[in-house]
Symmetry: C2
Subunit: 204 residues, 2 copies
């Protein structure tokens, strides 16, 4: 069959296959099932052997257990390969084989799901900050922000993305494009949230 070479040195080759099956299952169901179900997933008949496999995958760093004993995937379980900027000459371009840093996009960008909102960016008022029309802003909802943060404020009932600054004791909103004016709100400034990430998708 096909070879799965995601195995770490400390896990034996068969376990890599079991891991792949578990990853596929998790992609479908977003959960790790009971030992009984895992027997079917792995194609074996013994619960005790399932446990042995999971114990090894835990040792290899792909699984963890919650305080109440439930199996959960680790970061390494989801990890996407993060390539390094330089590759040695002659090396085949199998980025996935390299260990090292990995990461998960959702987790990287979002700390508190319930407070995070995505807002599409309109216009080019922040283009000098590398924020383009059509990008998606990852915004964490909160009232307070620091000087220099890029914030989503509500001005004239519209969301606007600007850098927060202070001028003569007054908060102002500074665009990153000379074609746009600085916004000096009279009275209070209503801050919706703080920009914590940015996503851009290129048409393919």
């Amino acid at each position: 069959m096909t070879d799965f070479d995601n195995a770490t040195p400390e896990s034996n080759p068969k376990d890599a296959e079991y891991l792949a099956k578990l990853q596929d299952y998790y992609a479908d169901w977003k959960s790790i099932p009971s030992y009984a179900s895992l027997c079917e997933v792995f194609g074996i008949a013994s619960k005790s052997w399932v446990k042995a496999i999971l114990d090894r995958l835990e040792k290899a760093g792909y699984l963890e257990r919650t305080p109440d004993g439930m199996w959960i995937p680790t970061k390494q379980f989801f990890a996407r390969p993060l390539a390094e900027s330089s590759v040695p000459a002659g090396m085949p371009i199998t980025v996935s084989a390299t260990q090292g840093e990995h990461f998960v996009i959702d987790e990287m960008l979002i700390d508190t799901p319930s407070k995070t909102t995505l807002i599409p960016v309109k216009g080019d008022s922040m283009i000098d900050a590398g924020i383009h029309d059509g990008d998606v802003a990852v915004v964490e909802k909160r009232m307070n922000a620091n000087i220099g943060d890029i914030v989503v404020a509500i001005v004239d009932n519209e969301f606007t993305l600007k850098t927060l600054d202070k001028e003569r004791g007054q908060f102002i909103l500074r665009p990153a494009n000379q074609a746009y004016p600085v916004i000096r709100p009279q009275g209070s400034l209503e801050i919706f949230g703080v920009l914590t990430g940015l996503i851009r998708k290129y048409r393919r």
Copy 2:
């Protein structure tokens, strides 16, 4: 406490709060725990009430059950609200209450997981394209690309991110920064992949 207004019309307001707690828990543990643990998560003492809540969340489309009865999150569970750029006057700032588009970051950026790699961007040679030092490029590995695509090419055993162009029948790599020269590779040009997305994280 704070209000989380992620509720759909068909679920009562308290459930939105429970959903938020469950989403935050899931973000931490990547699993839905037992009813006993959910009591602590929700801050209530009765397992039967936990079940009632989960049943309602299932009806509302946030949860499902596997064939063997295990609770699992649905797509809607992960979907992040996508705000619209204008909000009506006087409306409380409940962006999430708007139905309409939702999306999942990972799914949006990555079409074919097995061919997708993340590469951190070094340097500012593409800054005019809004690609900054420290950004993470989402790259789909493939050999061919079209003129105008931003590609990851291998030049002098280093990854380089440039726009692919053609000049007098020859492929060239065009930076998006006047301080950098156009790269005119002699002989063949080795393309690693095509830029399909971009991720940026702001320090918080």
